[in-house]
């Protein structure tokens, strides 16, 4: 149920993002989804890739500060209010969302959204109970 996300620490200076994508590309790793959180000094690049273990290794070897985090990939109905319904389910049980971002391409007829929450297992349980579809890691990497 959980998806491995790769996070990379980036100083706010030109060329760093290009460097990350270059390393991934040279190693045949494809990016499925990404988001960047930034402050004035630094940014955190979060990636879903087709091969997270390899991505972690090659970025590490290239000298980046990398970590892996477990997130969930949730199918959200591609219609007005689709995301709202999912958020409401989590809100009711007081699950706090650290951040979320959407996939670059559509998985099915639904939009795919990555959620980072503190209470991961609880979130999976409550979403499933409410018939929200969560994608397995393997399916996500293979998209």
């Amino acid at each position: 149920m959980k998806v491995k996300q790769i996070s990379v620490f980036l100083e706010n200076k030109s060329g760093r993002l290009a460097q990350v994508t270059k390393v991934l590309g040279q190693n045949g790793i494809n990016i499925r989804a990404l988001s960047i959180a930034d402050t004035t000094d630094f940014g955190i690049l979060r990636l879903i890739v087709n091969n997270p273990d390899a991505a972690y290794r090659v970025l590490k070897e290239a000298g980046f500060t990398v970590s892996t985090t477990e997130v969930i990939a949730v199918e959200v109905k591609d219609e007005p209010g689709g995301l709202s319904k999912v958020l409401e389910i989590l809100r009711e049980v007081n699950i706090n969302i650290e951040y979320l971002y959407a996939f670059l391409q559509k998985a099915t007829n639904a939009a795919l959204v990555v959620f980072r929450v503190e209470q991961l297992d609880e979130a999976i349980e409550v979403l499933q109970k409410n018939n929200v579809s969560i994608l397995q890691g393997d399916r996500v990497y293979a998209l």
């Binding site: 996070s7 760093r16 000094d41 630094f42 955190i44 500060t65 970590s67």
Partner: protein, 432 residues
């Protein structure tokens, strides 16, 4: 003009006799009362009776800041604590500060020296002294304060910061003498312009600026912008605090109060004394201090001594502006900062690599410190908030250890240049 004319204008031959008598007393006192000095003198094969002339001074061993740290807190005191009426301290490396103590007589001596400094700047009891040096463990605030009171001037103990209030008091109280760091004085002058205050309408006459290095260029700026005479003052807590030396109105160097201190210049590498006129490290021996007499203290400040007669009539030797340091100490907003202090904070945290770079700049008139710290894998988080919390924790810890606020900038590992041997820890972009 003079506060203690007899001493300030004493013929040099007579002054030397006085110095020798006081040196002999001091050496005897530390030998008898401070085990640290007794051991050091014995190891050097010296008895107090061996000091027969001033030239015997260079037989005595040096004292360093590290010696004060090693004997924290009161190990170098020559009197029991019940005779100590005041303690001051400067920030240390591992959170332990360097402690100095004063007896009642020491406070009187210090007050007289500061009164001399004020008188040297043309101060009298009619003056209103706005003292914007920090009050507290730092010697600047209280040192000036006691001197100004001793002279009978009206002291405004406003301490540092709160610029709008400084400007208000300056106008309303009719401040005539301003005492603060030169960079803060420059900042005040800029704020004065923004506040629409015309310095020519103020009563400011003299500024006594010290606790950090400055230049003739800054003097010109300060005098023009504040419409006053800007004078340099020198001192360090290990010796007594402000009032070790003071510039007279001739503005040709700071007179060292030689009836209370012997000044030497040494080559910092060979540790051999250098003659007057040669640049080197200033070494000071206290002659009258009771609580914390200090023998041949290595100030690490680089200067030149000038013994030629001064038009002000004082016979005391003059030291030039301090032009540098023989160690890596930085003075930021008047606060002494050693890169090793930052290192110890980082090691204590353990969440960052102990690789860092201090970037010092002057933003407007004020010093700005940015500390680049390499983020370790261990602490890296995918959450921005966690990294910002780390920055904030570091900032708060550095503020409490150093007493100075800095901006923390997390950088990628292995991006701070490593160098062979001594690492480059400081980039100082200030043009003083």
């Amino acid at each position: 003009m003079y506060w203690q004319k007899e001493y300030e204008t004493m013929p040099r031959e007579k002054l030397k006799e006085l110095q020798l008598a006081r040196l002999q007393q001091t050496v005897r006192r530390v030998y008898e009362n401070v085990p640290f000095y007794r051991q050091k003198l014995r190891a050097a094969g010296i008895e107090p009776g061996d000091i027969k002339s001033l030239s015997d001074l260079n037989k005595l061993p040096f004292t360093t800041k590290q010696d004060l740290r090693d004997n924290y807190p009161f190990g170098l005191f020559a009197v029991p604590l019940d005779q100590v009426v005041r303690l001051h301290a400067s920030s240390g490396t591992t959170g332990k500060p360097t402690v100095v103590g004063y007896t009642k007589n020491d406070i009187t001596t210090w007050s007289d020296l500061m009164a001399r400094a004020l008188a040297m700047a043309g101060g009298t009891k009619k003056d209103v002294v706005q003292n914007a040096y920090g009050y507290g463990l730092f010697t600047g605030g209280l040192g000036i304060h006691y001197g100004a009171e001793r002279m009978g001037a009206t002291v405004v103990p406003v301490s540092g910061g709160n610029t709008p209030r400084q400007l208000m008091l300056m106008q309303d109280f009719g401040t005539t003498i301003l005492t603060c760091t030169p960079s803060y004085a420059l900042y005040l002058s800029e704020e004065m312009v923004s506040a629409g205050i015309d310095p020519r309408k103020l009563k400011l006459r003299v500024g006594i600026f010290g606790a950090e290095p400055w230049s003739e260029r800054m003097r010109e700026q300060l005098e023009a912008k504040l419409n006053l005479t800007a004078l340099d003052i020198y001192g360090l807590s290990e010796v007594i605090g402000p009032g070790v030396a003071m510039e007279c109105l001739e503005k040709k160097g700071m007179h060292i109060f030689e009836d209370h201190f012997i000044a030497e210049i040494i080559d910092p590498d060979t540790e051999e004394p250098l003659p007057y006129g040669k640049q080197g490290e200033l070494v000071i021996t206290s002659l009258t201090k009771e609580a914390l007499p200090i023998i041949r203290y290595r100030t690490r400040d680089i200067t030149v001594l000038n013994c030629s007669p001064c038009d002000c009539g004082r016979t005391f030797v003059r030291m030039q502006r301090v032009t540098g340091r023989t160690d890596d100490m930085l003075i930021i907003r008047g606060v002494n900062v050693f890169p090793s202090q930052i290192e110890s904070v980082l090691l204590e945290f353990g969440d960052t690599e102990p690789h860092y770079l201090l970037v010092v700049d002057r933003k407007g008139a004020l010093d700005d410190l940015e500390i680049w710290v390499e983020l370790s894998d261990k602490f890296f988080s995918d959450k921005v908030r966690a990294l910002e919390e780390l920055e904030e924790k570091l900032r708060a810890r550095i503020l409490s250890v150093l007493g100075i606020s800095a901006r923390i900038k997390l950088v990628e590992p292995r991006t701070i240049p490593r160098s062979e041997g001594k690492a480059k820890r400081v980039v100082d972009k200030r043009e003083i």
